[in-house]
């Protein structure tokens, strides 16, 4: 009996030795993140996907209606108008933001008091939006706003900034630019700081002009940061809600009803299924635009 027990103990001991040892610690360490991610990211996304195939209004059982929400949206002039509005705002905001931010970042590369400038640039980003939106309404008032006053004082015609479709888009775009460009500058300044100064010294020795240095060294070496700025800008514009909501209410004539604002309408209308489908379409649209932007910039980087 004792022999049998000893043999069994020896066998178990050998099995323990052969079995790969599972280390629990790493799993324990990542578990909080995985759990939080599953609860607050993965589950909502899958629930939203599920909702997009229902006509749920916030109460009662989920009734599956197939692709009806998607069909409705893809044939709805309102949906396409909101997408077109976001598209126009993207054109007004993102290229200008990249251009302005890169220019400022390059100009500040060797400037003194960079920290001070950085703080000044980030200030609009952290200023309460509602307060600034009210200032915007006053500045861009057609009859009594400072902007039109400035235009007329130099002999230019005044513009219906908040009363015409085109003017309202520009006013909203300017507010977005004002708020977000500083953040892009900070990102690009970080990108620029990674470029070795020797590269510029070598270029100067080879007789490269400032423009050549900018175009042939700076731009290619910050392309990845630029890609990031473009993607962030794209996300910002297609999720744009607060600025048009406060400044124009989506008007005039729904001319500034962005994709984000249109999505909000579904939620306030309690059309949660439709809203979920709208958000899924928005995800696909933003993904496509972001990938296209990255590919475009990478091809520039490769060339």
């Amino acid at each position: 009996m004792a022999t049998l027990t000893e043999a069994a103990t020896t066998r178990r001991s050998a099995q323990r030795t052969r079995r790969p040892r599972v280390k629990a610690a790493p799993y324990l360490f990542v578990a909080p993140f995985v759990l939080v991610f599953a609860a607050f990211n993965a589950y909502p996304i899958f629930f939203a996907l599920q909702l997009s195939f229902t006509n749920w209004h916030g109460a009662g059982a989920l009734e599956i209606i197939g692709f009806a929400n998607y069909r409705y949206l893809l044939t709805s002039p309102d949906f396409w108008q909101s997408m077109a509005t976001s598209g126009v705002l993207w054109l007004l905001v993102v290229p200008a933001q990249v251009l302005v931010a890169l220019t400022i970042a390059v100009a500040l590369r060797k400037a003194r008091f960079r920290g001070l400038f950085s703080a000044a640039l980030i200030a609009p980003f952290v200023t309460p939006l509602v307060a600034m939106a009210q200032v915007w309404i006053i500045l861009f008032d057609q009859d009594f706003g400072a902007v039109n006053h400035g235009l007329s004082s130099i002999g230019l015609p005044t513009i219906g900034w908040l009363t015409t479709a085109a003017g309202a888009k520009v006013a909203v775009a300017l507010l977005v630019l004002w708020r977000t460009t500083g953040y892009a500058v900070i990102l690009l300044m970080a990108g620029l700081s990674t470029i070795p100064t020797e590269v510029y010294e070598a270029a100067r020795i080879d007789g490269a002009s400032a423009w050549h240095q900018f175009w042939s060294i700076t731009v290619p070496l910050v392309t990845r940061t630029l890609s990031f700025v473009v993607v962030i800008g794209t996300l910002t514009v297609f999720q744009l809600f607060a600025e048009p909501y406060v400044v124009t209410g989506g008007g005039p004539f729904n001319a500034t009803r962005t994709a984000g604002l249109y999505l909000y309408k579904h939620i306030t209308n309690s059309d949660l299924g439709l809203g979920a489908a709208n958000s899924m379409l928005l995800v696909l649209m933003v993904l496509a635009l972001s990938l296209a932007s990255i590919r475009l910039l990478r091809s520039r980087e490769d060339s």
Partner: protein, 452 residues
């Protein structure tokens, strides 16, 4: 109650919120068994001395303070009752609370425009209101009656009035109190412009939500509404056509200032005398009292002109009532409280009369309980911002003329995306009145009412 406002955007924001909540109120229409006020509130216990505890919701701000004082008059009368008076964003919170059934208050203050959306979740108060029916303004009784059942205790009435700049019109030789019809008002606007060429005398509302509310006031004045008594769409009809045609004439002849209510252009042009006539709800009085500077004391109010000679001189724009949720724990106590506030002299006087918050009384609306509307017994005092005018007398006379039979559809707020926006296009000269009505009716029918 419409409403003491603490800052210039409150009214606009309020109605925006109301619009959002109104469509959220569409939840009610989606609930299973879309009947209205299914549980009649028993009236038997109304004879017993009230006792117990109840929770009611009111808007935040000045109005909360006013109601707090008024509730004190109720608890002084019934010391066995404890009222938990809570200030919340009702428009945002009540629809979801009614649907979920969790944390439901015993009573809540609520915008009339939202009522139909949550009606299935409210007590049927028909039996209790019956005794007061002859004394309630007909318009208000229609608004709180859904599917034949009274689902709210009617509170305030917000009659439309013609506000005008006394100093300017006097210089132009116009007497607004003599303007019998809207054609007369057009003529008066031309006269003012002849005298002051820079003037664009008549206010044209450029906020799509408020424009819809405003045009409904004109339609109500003519006995019209977006839907008829049969529930069918009645937008493409004479009252709306006449209103839009008149507004388009104001626009086309350069007789109007297109501005959003209380936005910079609006306030500046009212202060500098460009805008002279503002046909608006009684709550416009807040502007000269709190927002306008140079023209404070120069504004006056009179009855709206009629659309046809001898027609009604008033319509309604806005208003609120008290609701008692079907899932309230102490609905009978809530009824007793609201009965005190609305139908007793002590109650409505505590709200509208002089108090700590409004030393000269609350003057942005009037009660909808007709016995309270005695021209000789004003609840609020004369108003300095109107040159010492007795607004009470003007408002109660208008309030008594407001046509009844008005119905608010559940989709009213959603219609802003169609009708409100198309009106905005018309005021920008991009659509004709006929196009607005036909396009809006088609859009509303297709998107909000369905094939039936």
């Amino acid at each position: 109650m419409t409403t003491p406002l603490s800052h210039p955007l409150s009214r606009r924001t309020l109605f925006r919120g109301a619009g959002a909540a109104l469509v959220a109120g569409g939840l009610g229409a989606c609930a299973p068994g879309n009947t209205t006020g299914a549980d009649p509130l028993p009236s038997s216990s109304a004879t017993k001395p009230p006792s117990g505890e109840l929770t009611i919701w009111d808007r935040t701000g000045d109005l909360y303070k006013v109601f707090d004082k008024a509730i004190a008059s109720f608890t002084a009368k019934y010391p066995q009752v404890k009222v938990n008076h809570v200030a919340v964003d009702i428009n945002a919170k009540l629809p979801a609370t009614l649907i979920s059934g969790a944390g439901v208050p015993d009573g809540a203050f609520y915008d009339d425009a939202l009522l139909t959306g949550v009606a299935p979740h409210l007590h049927d108060l028909s039996q209790l209101i019956e005794q007061y029916k002859p004394d309630i303004a007909p318009y208000k009784l229609g608004v709180v009656t859904v599917d034949g059942k009274v689902v709210a205790v009617p509170w305030d009435l917000d009659p439309g009035l013609l506000f005008y700049r006394e100093d300017i019109v006097t210089q132009a030789g116009v007497d607004p109190t003599k303007l019998a019809t809207y054609d007369d008002l057009l003529g008066a606007a031309r006269t003012v412009r002849d005298k002051f060429p820079a003037a664009k005398p008549i206010h044209l509302e450029n906020d799509q939500f408020l424009a819809q509310l405003w045009i409904d006031m004109f339609a109500n004045q003519q006995g019209g509404a977006m839907v008829g008594a049969d529930g069918k769409l009645a937008l493409d009809s004479d009252p709306y056509r006449k209103t839009l045609t008149w507004l388009d004439t104001v626009r086309a002849q350069g007789l109007g200032t297109l501005a959003k209510y209380t936005q910079p252009t609006d306030l500046q042009t009212q202060d500098n005398g460009t805008q002279v006539f503002v046909p608006w709800a009684q709550w416009f009085v807040f502007a000269p009292q709190q927002l306008l500077k140079a023209s404070k004391g120069k504004w006056r109010a009179t009855a709206l002109p009629a659309w046809e000679a001898g027609g009604a001189r008033a319509g309604v724009m806005g208003g609120s009532s008290f609701v008692i949720p079907a899932k309230a724990k102490n609905p009978e106590l809530a009824w007793r409280l609201y009965e005190h506030l609305v139908f007793s002299k002590e109650g409505y006087t505590a709200v509208y009369g002089k108090n700590d918050v409004y030393p000269r009384g609350l003057n942005t609306s009037i009660p909808s309980y007709l016995p309270a509307l005695d021209p000789a017994a004003p609840l609020f005092e004369t108003i300095d911002a109107l040159g010492g005018q007795d607004l009470w007398k003007v408002a109660v006379e208008a309030g008594k003329q407001v046509p009844g039979g008005y119905t608010i559809p559940t989709w009213w707020g959603k219609a802003v995306d169609y009708f409100g926006v198309n009106v905005q296009k018309m005021l920008a000269g991009r659509m004709s009145p006929d196009e607005v009505l036909k396009t809006s009716a088609s859009q509303i029918q297709k998107n909000l009412m369905g094939p039936n």
